[in-house]
């Protein structure tokens, strides 16, 4: 993917020539008979960071999970609508039941709210997905692992203890390991569900900086309850809100516009709460 020219992040500028990477149309998610999200349509732009904000329970996680079909694993979850992933050769329909979900999840990585390194060594955490996707050569494995750890700023901290259990790392280190674990598979898109909310402010700052560095190299969709963070990292912001107990996308636009000149009154009130 070609890196896109990025403006000054603090200003929340227009990020780039908007090229849709994911096109979502009329997405609806329900658990059993309870709809939790309906009528969501938006484009996720290539190389940009899109921040999803909104109150608890409005379906942000459900939205994210449907993008990499993790909803398949949740009993009773149903997803309707259309999600198209831009391909070299046209587009790929992600909700197609005959889709190769493993290949899809390799292209769309995910970071969870609670760091979830597997109960094994740091090295094995990174080797496992690589091996499962067919990388066998020891030198290649070692090189990929080192690169990924360096990319998340963890290499110098763990180079001497690669065989130590991953669960001995601090929370922030664990989360960065999880990001590295997603990066080794060379995804195009990264979905992040409140990646900093389980971390202390310093670790959170480190991870946030790390996410900033992904801009232009990956397409990132990040859910966050921290509006200041959304404003700092996002090129685009999507505001979800509940109407009659069902989550909806209320407003989507450039970060600067959403935060400085929200159109919808609900957005204005929610953003306003941040100042008041």
């Amino acid at each position: 993917m070609t890196p896109h020219t990025l403006g000054d992040i603090e200003m929340g500028p227009p990020c780039c020539v908007p090229v849709p990477h994911l096109s979502i149309e009329n997405l609806a998610v329900a658990y059993g008979d309870t709809p939790v999200l309906s009528n969501v349509s938006l484009d996720i732009h290539k190389g940009c960071i899109t921040a999803l904000i909104g109150p608890s329970g409005c379906g942000k996680t459900s939205f994210l999970n449907s993008l990499n079909r993790l909803t398949d694993l949740i009993p009773g979850a149903r997803v309707e609508g259309r999600i198209r992933l831009a391909n070299e050769s046209g587009t790929l329909d992600l909700l197609d039941s005959s889709l190769d979900v493993r290949a899809l999840r390799r292209r769309i990585g995910m970071i969870f709210q609670k760091p979830n390194p597997f109960p094994m060594s740091i090295r094995r955490n990174l080797e496992l997905p690589l091996r499962e996707h067919g990388m066998r050569r020891a030198d290649l494995l070692a090189h990929t692992i080192e690169t990924a750890l360096a990319d998340v700023g963890l290499w110098n901290e763990v180079r001497d203890r690669l065989d130590a259990p991953a669960l001995t790392l601090s929370g922030g280190q664990q989360q960065r390991l999880c990001i590295a674990r997603a990066l080794v598979l060379e995804p195009e898109i990264l979905l992040m569900d409140e990646p900093c909310s389980a971390l202390d402010p310093i670790a959170s700052g480190v991870v946030e900086e790390m996410i900033q560095s992904l801009r232009g190299r990956y397409t990132v969709v990040i859910v966050t309850h921290n509006l200041a963070q959304a404003r700092r990292v996002g090129n685009y912001a999507a505001f979800f809100w509940m109407r009659e107990r069902i989550g909806q996308l209320v407003e989507f636009g450039h970060c600067r516009q959403i935060f400085d000149a929200p159109v919808h009154p609900a957005t204005a009130a929610y953003i306003g709460g941040m100042h008041g």
Binding site: F118, P119, P129, H133, C178
Partner: protein, 279 residues
């Protein structure tokens, strides 16, 4: 801080703990007093004579280990498979899964004599295995399966969802996630299930009398009949006048065997844990 109710409750707990320990100590002291004198390397290494009053328990020990080996060798893979299967279904909240659980709980509480009769009818007679170590082992496998499956299934259910979802999000196949992440995470539960099963199997008498039989010769193959330790103890104390001493000595060996197995299990699961957490 301590009100009288709390005090009384604490005392009651202490009383119960002391009571249980005392009963066990008394039991143990009793068999130790009787049997410790005749316990020796010879006792373990020689064949019984004079219906067990003299000699040792070598062939019986071998039969016991063979029966346990068959039981665990069959129950472990079958039980793991069943637990994994059941876990996938109960996860989806299906009613079938709940029914199977209920059935397993009922089977787990079934008196062992029922398994003995079943094993005799099915393995010994219907499958033509006769009175043999194989019949006995398979019967014990059937007997310990329910409790093993339930323990492992509970362990699988307790595995963090984060790992499950994390593995799927990395595009791991279900079998890879199971083999590399979920089963290792459930290892302590699997170990505990095995130990519960082995403990129960090692102490089993009723189910074996009808399936692996009484013969106290050294077994030459799994098709031979073999006498298990618990059966030997039962026979010595009920049917052989003057067999008390060797019954007690055999009981000591059995207790030691079960204790060993349990300690091994604790050590194993602790090693699993420390390897992962290195606390």
């Amino acid at each position: 801080m301590h009100n009288p109710g709390d005090r009384l409750f604490g005392l009651a707990l202490w009383g119960a703990a002391v009571g249980v320990t005392a009963v066990f100590a008394w039991l143990f002291a009793d068999i130790a007093r009787l049997g410790l004198g005749s316990l020796s390397l010879d006792f373990i290494a020689t064949a019984p004579e004079n219906a067990g009053r003299d000699g040792g328990i070598a062939p019986i020990l071998v039969s016991t280990l063979l029966i346990l080996g068959v039981a665990v060798g069959v129950a472990a893979p079958v039980g793991l498979g069943a637990a994994v299967w059941l876990n996938t279904y109960t996860r989806a909240g299906s009613r079938g899964g709940r029914r199977i659980r209920l059935a397993l709980d009922m089977l787990a509480g079934m008196p062992s004599i029922v398994f003995g009769l079943f094993g005799n009818a099915f393995f010994s007679v219907f499958l033509g295995l006769g009175f043999s170590i194989l019949s006995g082992g398979l019967t014990l496998a059937a007997m310990i399966l329910p409790i093993f499956i339930r323990t492992v299934e509970a362990g699988l259910g307790a595995v963090e969802d984060g790992w499950r979802l994390g593995a799927a999000a990395l595009g791991l196949t279900r079998s890879a996630a199971l083999a590399h992440v979920i089963l290792p995470a459930a290892a302590p539960a699997i170990g505990a299930g095995l130990m519960l099963g082995i403990g129960r199997a090692a102490a089993e008498t009723a189910a074996l009398i009808f399936t692996s039989g009484y013969v106290d010769r050294m077994p030459e193959s799994l098709a031979d009949s073999g006498r298990a330790l618990a059966v030997h103890i039962y026979d010595l104390s009920m049917n052989v006048a003057g067999g008390d001493v060797h019954a007690a000595a055999s009981a000591l060996v059995l207790v030691a065997l079960v204790a060993c197995v349990n300690l091994m299990a604790v050590a194993l699961s602790r090693r699993w844990l420390t390897r992962r957490l290195a606390v």
